[in-house]
Amino acid sequence: MALTGVLRPGHVALRVLDMEASIHHYTHVMGLLETARDDQGRVFLKAWDEHDHHSVVLRETDSAGMDYMGWRVDSNATLEKFAKDIEESGLASELSWVAADEHPQTGRRFRFTTSTGHVMELYAEKGKVGNGMPTLNPDIYPDGLKGMSPSRFDHCLLYGDDLDNTMKLFIEILGFTLTEQVIAGPDKLVISAFMTCSNKPHDVAFIRQPCKGKFHHASFLLDNWGEVLKAADLISRNRVSLDIGPTRHGITRGETIYFFDPSGNRNEVFSGGYISYPDRPVLTWTDDELGRAIFYHDRKLNEAFLSVVT
């Protein structure tokens, strides 16, 4: 197989203030499918075209934000190798193993904290529950999709201080490719990095900020611009808190809209982008062009978009 190592972002675990309102948001408005609840009260969901058991985990507590993000790797051998490599690199802290089945239908997970303060997990096994269609002579989408109905959980954007060592960890240890970066000032300090483990413009992105472990957004993939506009309709129709959009990014070229879940965690649904092969040159943006880089149509910085995190 040509795509090896870390295969994809497999799950994002979010803290919510009100589980009932959150379930309504993620299922009725966004159109994710609930696949399980556990005895801790956590709710597991997936997007319709994901075969794996879950990609979103919600936990009710007294704060918002991200608990952790999980990455599927290609095999148990790879999982063990990465665990060893991460430990030897010294680039992550709080290393631990989470037992199999702590998440339903999920194998053991290797957990670590990046230098930006984000908890990440690697795992090799998660049950395949399918996408509602047979794998032999399927149709193109199943009946009964609701709301925005993105096809998959796609990526997260995260805020933290030590971007350098986090980039090192993802690129040198986990084999990610840098696709785009933002540099600032005469020192050309990298203030934002977009990285992929696959062929996407990004599977995870970070922005350098004086904080640890902050969550900017979790993003979900739609098919096209029309679906982004339909998502905008659904946001108004359901009185969802809108952040910004529909609009277009310069960075990643995504067609996008941002909004908040009922606990203030930012969501994105988007379409478009490009294929990034590992030998594709890195695209670099400078901070004086940051407005166009972030919102290609507006071409100006949006304070709320850049400053509001959980």
Binding site: D18, D62, A64, G185, S263, V308
Partner: protein, 134 residues
């Protein structure tokens, strides 16, 4: 049934405290009332009680709140009248003081201090405030 919210003290984007008051309907939170009327004064963030940029302190009046992130309002602060405007429902007219503000992580180019006399950056000051690293 509606209640009047008055912002006391200088707030974001307001020339004086006198100009800041707006009516909030019984079924809406303070921030929603402000936004619906196109008013300003309280920074608007997630509107979900999670991010904390709309933090205020109620200095007069009765109110109730919905659940707010403890990262933004501690239990002690809650007893001292602190609340997030997006979770704040007035039961009477209220006087509030704006506490929260939009982060200064990224600032508008014209507001950013120029970094020294570098000829490349002179005249187009950095949009991204990295002063926290110095």
């Amino acid at each position: 049934m509606s209640h009047r919210i008055r912002i006391v003290g200088l707030a974001d984007g307001l020339p004086s405290s006198e100009s800041a008051s707006f009516e909030v309907r019984a079924d809406e939170h303070a921030l929603c009332g402000m936004e619906r009327l196109g008013r300003r004064g309280i920074p608007v963030g997630c509107r979900g009680g999670g991010c904390g940029v709309c933090k205020v302190q109620v200095v007069a009046g009765r109110y109730h709140t919905n659940k707010m992130s403890r990262d933004c309002v501690s239990s002690v602060e809650e007893t001292q009248g602190y609340a997030l405007a997006c979770r704040l429902y007035p039961d009477t007219d209220l006087d509030i003081r704006v506490v929260g503000k939009m982060g200064r992580a990224f600032t508008k180019a014209e507001l950013s201090p120029s970094q020294g006399g570098d000829s490349v950056t002179a005249g187009k000051s950095p949009a991204f405030d990295m002063s926290w690293r110095n």
